[in-house]
């Protein structure tokens, strides 16, 4: 399974958010590194088929992104999301299950499983508005997994997580990465150190570097800085 981006470009008014990026994503965890404003979120939205590129194409195994079939195998965690005010954590997941098309039976089962998986067992019945930032993030991760997606795209998934939660998150992702295409974006290098198989480094809308994580060496931070330091 491959998610292929071919010279995609997206421009807003005067700013080019994504500038002729080309890459192929395969099974495993790919980390997308870049500063805030580098265009990561726009890129992810392009890959979700939700924003259409001004030029270039995105496709997955012959499927056009943006079709129902694609959304069926997609799990997405946006950087910023809300929730209907009256929802409890469980309600939220059940609602998302409905929109993702799960049967009621599957919805209940999946919700139960995922609540356990992300460690929200005690708070599932409480209203989401009472949740801490970290808890909401975990809820977001859970909803992305409801439809057993084969492609998982997460935008700054560790934002708001405390160190312990981050570790837990890394373990979770490592496990998932085996049979799925996982793309995580972050501006925190240490998030990716141990879980990314591949890396993409982005600056000012351009893909500055892509390759295996191992090529980045021991000190990923230094490697990152060296890559974005030079202009091509």
């Amino acid at each position: 399974m491959e998610l292929i981006a071919d010279r995609i470009t997206k421009q807003y008014k005067n700013k080019i958010a994504v500038d002729r990026m080309s890459f192929t994503l395969t099974k495993g965890v790919t980390g997308l590194l870049g500063a805030n404003g580098a265009g990561k979120t726009t890129l992810m939205r392009l890959l979700c088929g939700v924003l259409a590129p001004d030029s270039g194409t995105v496709s997955c195994d012959g499927m056009s992104v943006g079709t129902e079939e694609y959304r069926d195998i997609l799990g997405y965690l946006p950087q910023d999301f809300g929730f209907y005010p009256e929802f409890s954590g469980k309600d939220f997941l059940l609602y998302m299950s409905a929109v993702k098309g799960l049967t009621k039976k599957d919805a209940i089962q999946k919700t139960k499983e995922l609540i356990e998986l992300v460690g929200l067992g005690d708070s599932a019945g409480k209203k989401v508005r009472t949740y801490s930032g970290g808890m909401r993030q975990r809820l977001g991760i859970a909803q992305a997994l409801l439809n057993d997606p084969q492609i998982l795209i997460m935008d700054e998934p560790t934002a708001g997580l405390d160190p312990q939660e981050r570790i837990r998150f890394r373990e979770l992702i490592s496990g998932l990465g085996k049979n799925k295409i996982v793309l995580l974006s972050t501006h925190i290098v240490s998030d990716l150190e141990h879980i990314a198989d591949r890396l993409m480094i982005m600056k000012d809308g351009q893909l500055r570097w892509q390759g295996n994580r191992s090529a980045g060496g021991e000190d990923l931070e230094a490697f990152y800085i060296s890559q974005i330091g030079e202009k091509r």
Partner: protein, 241 residues
């Protein structure tokens, strides 16, 4: 011996022994990551039904109260004023449809299988259908209390309702805000307008203008459909900018 019987017999004689290796085969495929046992998916009908239960209870309550009020006022028979209340019904539709963007759920819903468009359409459809049905019932009930024909009562009730819906949806489209106060105010203004109309322009309610009301009605229906469609399209784009 009819065809159904033949087919039934055919199925019977074609029963085969259970394939023995099926489970192991599929488990193997799953282990190799060639397939994933994803949950079975619901159809659009079920989706609509499920969305029905997510529409806030207060919406139905408010609609019921409004419809009863309309009936009550008609009974009291104070001229053409009852018609002014129908725009308030439009508030529900507009508010409910805007829920996704208001609560920042739009991005999540967009990437789900049924997508934001289906969610919004479901809401418009559900609330719209129920309210319109309610309104039609009310029209039927109150008709005898007026000197007008059924068609005229229908037009006088529906036109303000559709007009408010149209204006509200256009407003929402142009001004994507976090709350729905804009369209609520529009509905109240429409109400006010139609309340004042019988007083200042009472001639409008005369028999001879029925044709004009009919034309306006038809135009409103078309415009409303177009406007709603545009609203959904633009909302889908708006989520990302």
């Amino acid at each position: 011996m009819d065809n159904d019987r033949i087919i039934k017999l055919l199925k019977e004689i074609c029963s085969t022994p259970e394939p023995e290796e099926k489970k192991a085969f599929f488990q193997g495929l799953e282990d190799q990551g060639l397939i994933s046992r994803r949950p079975v998916v619901i159809n659009h009908g079920d989706f609509l039904l499920r969305q029905f239960f997510y529409v806030g209870k207060w919406i139905w309550l408010l609609s019921a109260v409004l419809l009863l009020c309309i009936m009550g006022i008609c009974y009291g028979n104070t001229g053409n004023y009852p018609f002014a209340l129908t725009p308030l019904l439009a508030v529900e539709i507009l508010v409910e449809t805007g829920r996704s963007s208001r609560w920042k759920m739009a991005e999540l819903e967009y990437t789900a299988r049924f997508s934001l468009r289906s969610v919004m359409l479901a809401r418009i459809f559900l609330v719209g259908i129920v309210e319109t049905a309610g309104l039609l019932v009310v029209i039927w009930v109150v008709r005898p209390w007026f000197s007008y024909s059924l068609i005229r009562v229908f037009l006088y009730m529906m036109v303000p309702y559709l007009a408010a819906s149209l204006l509200g949806s256009v407003y929402e489209r142009k001004n994507r805000s976090d709350n729905n106060w804009g369209s609520i105010i529009i509905c109240f203004l429409s109400s006010g307008l139609f309340a004042a109309a019988p007083y200042y322009l009472s001639s409008l309610y005369e028999e001879r203008f029925t044709v004009i009301w009919t034309v306006v009605f038809i135009l409103l229906v078309f415009s409303l459909v177009v406007s709603m469609r545009r609203w959904i399209c633009e909302l889908e784009e708006a989520v990302w900018n």
